[in-house]
Each structure stands twice: as C-alpha cells, then as structure tokens.
Amino acid sequence: MTRPPTTMPVIFERSMPGRIAAAPPAPDVPDVPMETIVDAEHLRNTPPTLPEVSELDLVRHYTRLSHRNYSVDAGFYPLGSCTMKYNPKVNEDAAGLAGFARLHPNTPAPLAQGALELLWRLEQMLCEISGMDRVTFQPSAGAHGEMTALMMIRAYLEDRGERRTRVIVPDSAHGTNPASAAMCGFEVTTVRSDARGNIDHAALRRAADGSVAALMLTNPNTLGLFEEGIYEVAEIVHNCGALMYLDGANFNAMLGITRPGDQGFDVMHMNVHKTFGTPHGGGGPGAGPVAVKRLLEPYMPAPTVERDGDRFLLDGDRPKSIGRVRAFNGNFGIFVRTYAYLLAYGPLLRQVSEAAVLNANYLLALLRPHFDLPYDRRCMHEFVLSGRRQKEQHGIRTLEIAKRLLDHGFHAPTVYFPLIVSEAILIEPTETESRQTLDAFADAMIRVAGECATDPETVRNAPQSTVVTRLDEVAAARKLNLRWTAGKEGDS
C-alpha cells in the first residue's frame, strides 16, 4: 500500500513577490531619510528571505499544518511522565485578559498590584499543596527549576562552609536530572533501583557520604511507583548532611493525598504546566517554579513577591540570592492559568489525583495479560509495561508497536523510558479521560499485541495511515538540513 509521494509545501514555496499579510502602519511623522537617522554602515543591505504571502495564504498554510498535528483536543495522549491532561478553556481566556497579556514587566509595582497579588496568592496555594514554605516563580520549565534548586542547595552549603561535589540520582531518573546537576558543577552518582522499583537503600547508604550535596528523587518515580521507604531515604540523606530534592514531574499523582514537604523533601520544582493545567504548546511554554523549605529561602532568585499590609511588592534585596535565572519574573502567563486552575478546584484537587491514579490502575488491569509487567505493584498515575514478550516471540520492537498505535488512531505512550526497563512502554492516562476512552485505547493496544503474532509485517511497516510513513531519522542526522534554501531543497 504505497501512496503517491505528495508533500506539503513549506511556506517559502508559497511565496509570491509583493504579497503581504499584515501591513505595518504609515509612519505619520516627518519623512527624513533613513541614513540620517541611522548611519548607512548600520543599515541592512539585503532583506531577509522571508515568505511573501497574503493573509489567506498564511491562514491556509498554518491551518493545514495544524491538521497534521496530534493534540489532546483531538485525541488521547497517553505519554507517560508528560501528563497530557485536558486543560479547561477558561484558563486561556484568563491568561488572555488585557490586564495580564498586555502588562509590561517593567511596570512599577504600584501599577501592577493585580499581577503581584495573583502571584502572592498563588505562592500561598502552592505552599499549602506542597508542604513547603516559599516559592520562586523565575524558572521557565521543569529542568530550569531543577537547575535553580540545585544552585540554591549549593549556595546554602557553601554558606555553611561546605563544598560538596556530588549529587545522587537514581537510575530511573529523568535525563534532565543529571544534566541539571552538571550545569551546577556537580558530579553525578547513579544509584540503582531495587527489585520492587524503589531506590536501593543499601546502595544509597554506600553512596551517601560527606561529599554529597543532594539526592534528586522523583516520587512517585518514573516507574509509576511510590517510594515505599521515603522516610528511610530522607534519613540516610539528611544524616550525611545532604538535602532532599524532589523532581515534581509526577506531582499529579499526589495532590491533597501526600505532600513532599511532609515526606522529608527540602526543595522541589513543580511542572505547573503538567500538574495544574496549561496546554503543552507542542513543547512549551511551561513553567517550573521551585518551592523550598525555610532553610533555602535566603538563596532564592531575586526578586521575590512580598506582601506589606494591603500592598504587594517585588523584593530585590536578597544578598544571598543565587541570582537571576531569566530576565523578568517567570512565565507569568502560565501562572495565570495555574491560578485559574487551582481556583476552579480548590480542596477538590484531591479528586484530580484520585481519578488519575484510578484511571492508571484500571488501564493497567486491562493491559497486564497482554504485556510484561516488570514491577507488579499498585501503580500511581502511570505505569510501565515491557514489550519484551513481543520482541522475543515475534521480533517486534516496542518502537514498532508505538508506530502501529498511530494507525489505530492513538498517540503512542512514552517508549524506551525509563531506561532501566527493556522495551519500556510508559503509559499515563491522566484524570481527564473517560472509561470509554481508556477501554478503546486498551482495545487498540491488545489488537496490536495480537497483530504482532498474526500480522507482524503490518506492525513493522507502521504507520501507514498518517500523512507521512516512517521517517528516516538516521538520514536526517547524517545529512543535516535545518533550514530551507530555495533551489537547494534546504541544504544547511
């Protein structure tokens, strides 16, 4: 079944000289030659080769592109660890209010009281949910939050005269954890997981000495399992003088059920875009605010949001601060969505986690007869299967199962992560999906598992129903083409 090789033009191929979709206003001021305003040597000689299109050309191009995208609003997105939940539309309206979207970041605090009040109130709520004491809003994403948190830990330790060089990261951790540790100048010590999927306590004890600054732990971890011995872990870490850092990527499983601050964690980041309802935008923007216990407060990036009676202000006077990690005060537009989400739920937030965990356990029960289950425990909001059986019995790799699911109309789960499970399939249904959707997805997974035995060629050749068939990633990396150049098919 080969379809004709039709391609969607890139926007540069739609370009017709002289067309324009949006015309800037006329200057309406005295018409002086540009060279008298800016010296000729500073002027651009050749215009950028941008597309020249009418508004309708532009609308059709991007509308057609949008049709070539899989999105939550169109279908189920069971990407483990990514928490692709449906996000209420009212959040978008809230963030779009002119008083937020059109507010300049250099507006003096007395003229930005609404925005500062929102941040102050949001900080209170995030502290209550996390069991922490303060929040910095600067980090722009989860990994940015990891880096910020580790820098605060380092500053805290150095303030105490301690130069600790290592960070412990379990082998099940997100790849950003070691990368963030490296950005802060730490060496990474990897500690393995035990047979139940918890961090191995004996290995942790061996690794934990006076050179350790922190343990970076995800809980529930990337296997979808709660660290059963979390208090023992915290004790080992604190006993060696190090701090407990929580990667909050899986926070959606514990809202109102358990708080990191009560489990012994000293600092955490929150992927508010995952947990508190912001659409992912095809890869961002998100936000990664970091919540800390009181001991790290002096080291937070400046400025912080403070309240003085009925006035709200930005406090930049923080002599022990690690410094800024971005210009201005964080991805504010995302915090408007976060705030709206939290106000819509209030104490009912607990039901979000209950439904997320129930959905995951329900889906796991439907799928467990058909795939290997490396850790047979109660899962939290996600669970990891293995395609080992399909690989050994039918020679089908997990990647091919993922591609075949696309033909069945579903986005694939996360595959090959966590790294410690062979042929890993990490599934996270989230709380917003109905039982009917979960049933339909389970049916598709089971059908593909069956096809591995009865029709392996079809699985290997998947996907076939998508706008392109399997793409050659090796060729893309070998012969890099990262930009369009007319006539050269875009050789970079």
């Binding site: 001021v29 070539r68 995208n69 790849g175 709660f226 109102g256 992927n271 923007p285 504010f332 930009r483």
Partner: protein, 436 residues
C-alpha cells in the same frame, strides 16, 4: 473501575504511601469557584494593572509593546498546536515539526546566521547557554561582556556560568556604546567569547564589525545579544558583521508582553557550531515512500540521551512562542519587516527630537539609536514617571536602578504601536510634569 483495578476503595489505591505521609485533612485552599465567578475574580485582578490598553506606554528595556496582527494568535492559538506535546512521534506531528523548521529558517534569515534551534526560555537564559557553548567550542574559560548588555542578561550570565569555572569580565560602556579598544584590552588567550548587544541596553547601536574584529583577533567568538529583533528588519544583522552566535529575545515578534513571560529565547549560530548547540533542532528528511518530512534531529546532544554530558539541560522550550514568531515574520515578509522597523525608528526619532526640545531634557548619548533612547531629565525619572502616570502614561524606565552612574537617565521607547497623536500628547504631559 475499582473492581477491575482490584481495589476496594479509592483510599486503597494509595496504600503503598506510608501512613505517616498521607494527609489527614483537606487542603486549605479557597473554595472551588464556578467559571463565571472565576473569570469575574480574574478580571478584577487584571483591572488593577496599568496595562498597555489602559495606559499609553513608552516603556521598553527588554520587552516591547508592538502591534500583533490578529492573524498571529488566531493561527498559533489553534488547539491543534496549543494542546500538542513535544513532537516525539514525528509521523503525527508534522504540523509542529514543519512549523519549527520554517521558524528556524526565518530566524536564520533575520539574524544572518546559518543554523537556529527551535527555541530557548528567553533572551537572558539563551545568552547564559551561549556562554557555555562558547566555552565548549573554544576550550577557554573566560567571557568578556559589555556593561551595555541588558542588566538582567548579565545577571543570568553570571548565574549560569558561576559553577562551570567560567569567569565573566565586564567592560564599562563609554557614552552609551562599547569601546572596542577596551574590549581588546580585556581579551586574551583565555577569552572564549566577547558579548555585546545591539541595539544595547541604552538603545544605542554598537559598532558590531569593529567588536567582531577585536573578538576574532583574540581567537574568541563574538556573541551578539538581541533584545529587540524588530530592529533587524532595518539594521545590519549580526551574521553580517561577524557574530558567531546570536542569543536573543523573540518576544517582540508577535508575542504578548505577559508581564515578562512566556517569552521566546532565540539562539542561532554558524554552521560548524551546530553540534554544540543546546536545545531542539528540527531537520528535514524523507519517509519510506520518498515524501518529505520533518523530525527532531541530532538528539544525541540532548539530556535524554547523554544525561550529564549533554550540551545543556533544556527540555520543555517555548515552541508555541516560536510558532507565533514564525507566523508574525511570515505575515510581514521582508517588506513588512523593513517597514515596521522603519516606522519604529522614525517615530522614535520624532519623539526624541520633540522631547529634547523640552527645556531641561537632553540626550545622554550621541550614538545612533533604533527605537529607544536615554534622556537626562531635570526631575528624577521616578518622580517624572509618577506624574505621567496620573496623566495616563507609562513613562520610560528610570535607569538609575540598573546604572547608578545615570541617576537622571530615562530610557524611553517608541514603537510602531505609538501614534503621532500619542507621542505629541506624551510630550505635552512631560512638559507639564516638569514645570509643575
């Protein structure tokens, strides 16, 4: 569902959490609000802010109030773009991937560089990452930055480099621009990069080519920061004057002010540096049937493969803002980008001439400017701004907080979004405020 899942109750689902760690009380949060009340509350908060529809704004300094054609967010805001994830399954994400590839191309064209990534967090953090990139590329451990680079960018640069053994040296500006001779004196065989911004934090246009030459003579890279990319419709792009890496802020390209974020970190570089670039890159390839398609490429640089040896830890980026920037650039095209830049320059210069005709106000620096400029005011700028606010204007930035040697420095910004009528009214309000 509980029965199928094999549990007796919802509480049972959480049995593996130690009892001591389980919450025994409800969260103390405000009661859940229905949608109408929620929006009402948010509108009340929004209305407390002096936003750009409410006050006539002459504030810039790293964030710019430009007109955003309606078509930009009507398209970038389509649910199929907004509610998608990072394109890990390329076959069903061709829309996002092609849009990112087109964005990379447009950014290369605008900056005059060879390769661009699919976005960073913001301009300041992009500059921090660029310093790390330069260290890796040159094997040298010092960067020299002009003090005329945006103060936030320099703060972030210090935060990013502090623990990586990269030493930052600052060279003071002279009359609002970076003196090439002093940059030369500060560079040496250990210098990985020279960092300048143009137009800089004072709105002044730098002698880019001379600074590039100084950097290159020392065997260092020139990293050009860009805070106002609209200027590149008119001004010589960094690639043209010899920049090796461009780290910039893309907010002015169709993105809202948003009280500082989400913004768009732009990163572009020379071709040979591509494997040292942080962030995601989208490449063109073919499918099994020979059709053109797009994928995330050379991912081996990234943290999910290389972990602590990755080029950076950036993961979630600002893809949607990059998409909006692409739609914006495509909407204007080369002619529109030139025109909008010219309107910025013309109106800003008109405003500058009118304001400097006011008794007691003078230009701080003589260097050419694009759409913002520093004035010296007879009244402390904070006080002047306070009086202007009463008249419905957001005045310029009081520079003293960033540059203590400029206590009377007032950084005024005029974009194409300010009409001649608004400029004239602003000048009158300034006159009144000063004589009052």
């Amino acid at each position: 569902m509980l029965r199928v899942a094999g549990v007796a109750s919802l509480e049972d689902l959480f049995a593996e959490i130690p009892a001591a760690a389980r919450m025994k009380r409800p969260l103390e949060l405000p009661p859940a609000l229905p949608e109408g009340e929620l929006l009402d509350h948010l509108r009340r908060l929004a209305d407390k802010n002096a936003h750009a529809d409410h006050m006539v704004s002459f504030l810039g300094a790293g964030a710019y109030d430009h007109e955003i054609p309606s078509v930009v967010w009507r398209l970038a805001g389509r649910a199929e773009f907004v509610t998608a994830y990072t394109p890990y399954q390329a076959e069903v994400m061709q829309g996002e991937l092609q849009a990112a590839y087109e964005y990379q191309t447009m950014l290369c064209e605008l900056t005059g560089m060879d390769v661009a990534n699919a976005s960073m967090y913001d301009g300041a953090s992009a500059l921090g990452e660029a310093a790390v990139m330069a260290r890796d590329l040159t094997g040298r451990n010092r960067v020299v930055t002009s003090s005329a680079v945006h103060p936030h960018y320099r703060e972030v640069l210090r935060t990013y480099t502090r623990h990586l053994g990269i030493e930052v040296t600052e060279v003071p500006h002279r009359d609002g621009v970076t003196p090439p001779g002093e940059i030369r004196a500060a560079t040496g065989p250990e210098t990985a990069a020279v960092m300048v911004q143009s137009p800089n934090a004072f709105g002044c246009i730098e002698q880019g080519a001379a600074l590039a030459q100084v950097a290159h003579e020392a065997g260092a890279l020139l990293i050009a920061a860009v805070a106002e990319p609209i200027s590149l419709g008119l001004l010589r792009p960094p690639g043209d004057y010899g920049a090796d890496i461009v780290a910039g802020e893309g907010q002015p390209l169709g993105n809202h002010l948003n009280y500082g974020g989400p913004y768009l970190g732009m990163l572009a570089a020379r071709r040979e540096f591509v494997r040292r670039m942080p962030g995601r890159l989208v490449g063109m390839t073919k499918d099994r049937d020979g059709r053109r398609g797009f994928v995330l490429t050379i991912q081996a640089r990234e943290q999910h493969i290389k972990r602590e040896k990755a080029t950076s830890n950036i993961c979630t980026n600002e893809a949607l803002n990059a998409l909006a920037a692409a739609v914006y650039m495509a909407a204007l095209g080369p002619g529109g980008m030139r025109r909008v830049a010219e309107v910025n320059a013309r109106r800003a210069h008109y405003a500058m001439e009118r304001l400097t005709a006011v008794a007691g106000i003078s230009r701080a620096f003589a260097a050419p400017v694009f759409n913002e400029f520093v004035l010296r005011t007879p009244l402390p700028p904070d006080q002047l701004n306070g009086r202007l606010a009463e008249a419905g204007f957001l005045g310029g930035l009081a520079l003293g907080a960033w540059y203590p040697d400029l206590p009377d420095g007032w950084l005024v910004c005029v974009t194409e979004a300010r009409t001649r009528g608004q400029i004239d009214a602003f000048v009158e309000a300034v006159k009144e405020a000063i004589v009052r």
